[in-house]
């Protein structure tokens, strides 16, 4: 399988990465090089093989559903580019 320029733009949109017109052909070449490299996986017979979900066989650990952390909003927002009253600020999303 290979991708065309329209697909490259669609992927970039899904990934929320702006691409310029000049970048598209270059990216298409690189993505197609990767896709042709992984094509050899089609040779493998995977009938009845479980896809791996956990590399070490272990039961999912659970903890009690109680508050164990928090109470320091100024620390939480300390690295944010824009904040007000302990809220993260973003451009307007609803009219």
């Amino acid at each position: 399988m290979s991708v065309d320029q329209a697909t490259v733009r669609r992927i970039a949109r899904l990934a929320r990465i702006a691409v310029t017109d000049e970048e598209v052909p270059h990216l298409m070449g690189e993505l197609n090089a990767m896709l042709s490299f992984v094509e050899q996986l089609d040779e493998v017979d995977v009938t009845g093989v479980e896809p791996m979900t956990s590399v070490t066989p272990m039961a999912m650990k659970k903890r009690a559903d109680i508050v164990t952390d928090g109470g320091y909003p100024e620390t939480v927002v300390a690295n944010a580019p824009m904040t007000e009253d302990h809220y993260f600020l973003v451009p307007k999303v609803v009219e």
Partner: protein, 506 residues
């Protein structure tokens, strides 16, 4: 007087304990060496004030007879580890101004045991790379000079565009460069596809990627969560064993960390390997492998045989599919993990006309080309209609790769011996062509280990005909790092300690 920056971690520890040196002296010697070595680009941030304060505290503890296992030992920390109050960037512009309010579990355990932080070490951006060339701070340079280069030639290249000088490998290139150049006694690193073992092999140092779950991933910038694992790079196998004991252990904050006692790894050094069965996988004899690497591999097997181990040929039939399957699984997980860099909660923001425009501009400006490429391929293989064909198939192949190893271990194999890399270190700028796959092939021998979650140790095994370091890799059973340390030290002793480069950069 011995050069304090060229001691092994074990010798420094013993000298500190015997009080023949102080941690302040040791730390000052390293800070001075770091200053002179700045053009190598191993450190992206130096923390001298913190280092000296920690060293002073260590000297007081040693005087009181209250020393921890790493008391007073100066270490470098890969910039992927969150360090409280100390800028942590993952060597990406998107985190250029990020100062964590918390400390990673692994580094906090090092400080608990008395280690001293010298600073933060360079890596490929978000640990994506095999040469340290994708770091937003520019490439880190290996202290090994290219074959037939004079010190003057290397020095002038270092002052210029660095082209032709050797890469230290990646992604933990800063860690490997600093350890080999005498800029710390040991360094933390991380390994997703070979990022500890390949740089160790390129620089004549030792590095271990522990079993998945052995070290907590909490507070380490995530790349591909089912593959990422923390580990040390140091000058000897024993030094890595000492560091791993402090780094490993259960952490309730990482649900994949394993609740299992941490052994005294150093006690495995010098243990007899007599009667151990070592597998030589025939599928690792890949097309185009240099005769030199092949010869090194045979030599390594001979060293283990001479120590009483039994060498057997084994088959790991799905080996060739590990690297392509990795280039589906790792980018898929990366595209998901790196979705958090959106210019809202931390990091750099580029304003836009609406929120989507802000996200897109922020991420286009903040991520370098390799990271953008991997996020995009990951987004593609996870997108509607392609998930089963790519991602599910890759995870099925991952199961087959793991089963290959399980069969070998069930047949009585104690460890597997392979080359660590297909070649010695290459030059800066040499593999930055249009085809990204050329760079990826560096990890052909190491990536299987991440896919199967196993421990892997890279040990220096000699020099190439041109005088560059070469490494061998030992792969173990899950949680049997001890066997790797015992075998690794046998190779290290038989090969003779690699003499590290002299300070041509000074």
């Amino acid at each position: 007087m011995t050069d304090l920056t060229h001691m092994t971690l074990a010798d420094a520890r013993d000298a500190l304990k015997a009080r023949t040196i102080s941690s302040v002296e040791l730390t000052k010697a390293h800070l001075a060496a770091m200053e002179v070595a700045r053009p190598l680009g191993a450190y992206v941030l130096e923390t001298p004030d913190q280092a000296l304060a920690m060293a002073k505290a260590s000297d007081e503890k040693i005087a009181k007879g209250d020393a921890g296992a790493l008391e007073g030992i100066p270490l470098g920390i890969k910039d992927l580890y969150a360090t409280k109050g100390v800028r942590t960037t993952a060597c990406s512009n998107i985190l250029a101004n990020f100062v964590p309010k918390y400390e990673s579990t692994v580094s906090s355990q090092l400080w608990r045991d008395g280690a001293v932080m010298l600073g933060k070490l360079s890596n490929d951006e978000f640990a994506m790379g095999s040469s340290n060339e994708s770091s937003a701070f520019g490439p880190a340079v290996s202290p090994w000079t290219p074959p037939n280069w004079t010190a003057d030639k290397a020095k002038s290249a270092l002052a210029g565009d660095k082209k032709g000088l050797l890469v230290p490998g990646g992604s933990s290139g800063g860690s490997a460069s600093a350890v080999a150049a005498g800029l710390c006694l040991g360094a933390t690193a991380t390994d997703t596809g070979g990022s500890i073992r390949q740089p160790a092999a390129f620089t004549g140092t030792a590095g271990i990627k522990p079993t998945y779950g052995r070290c907590s991933r909490w507070g380490i910038v995530a790349f591909a969560s089912s593959l990422d694992q923390a580990g040390p790079i140091a000058r000897t196998v024993r030094d890595t064993a000492i560091m791993l004991r402090s780094m490993a252990g259960h952490d309730p904050k990482d649900t994949t960390s394993v609740d299992r006692a941490v052994p005294d790894y150093e006690a495995a050094i010098g243990r007899s390997v007599k009667g151990m069965k070592i597998g030589i996988p025939k599928e690792y004899r890949v097309e185009g492998m240099s005769a030199e690497i092949d010869a090194l591999w045979t030599k390594g097997a001979d060293m283990l045989r001479a120590a009483g181990a039994e060498i057997v040929e084994i088959s790991l039939p799905h080996t060739k599919y590990a690297l392509p399957a990795y280039y589906i699984v790792a980018p898929a997980e990366a595209s998901s993990n790196l979705a958090r860099y959106d210019g809202v909660r931390y990091g750099v923001r580029v304003p836009g006309k609406d929120i989507t425009d802000m996200y897109e501009k922020t991420r286009a400006a903040g991520f370098g080309p390799e990271v953008r490429r991997r996020i995009m391929i990951g987004t593609y293989v996870l997108s509607a209609g392609y998930y089963d064909a790519y991602y599910v198939r890759a995870q099925q192949i991952r199961t087959l790769i793991k089963q290959d190893f399980e069969k070998a271990y069930a047949a009585g194999v104690d460890a597997v011996l392979t080359p660590a890399t297909p070649s010695p270190a290459f030059g800066i700028g040499e593999k930055s062509g249009a085809d990204p796959v050329e760079m990826y092939l560096n990890d052909v021998f190491t990536v299987t280990v991440n896919m199967a979650g196993l421990p892997g140790l890279a040990v220096p095994a000699g020099l190439s005909a041109e005088g560059l370091p070469l490494g061998l890799q030992l792969i173990g059973r899950p949680f049997d790092e001890e066997t790797l340390f015992s075998l690794g030290e046998v190779i290290e002793q038989a090969a003779g300690r690699t003499t590290l480069p002299t300070r041509w950069w000074a």
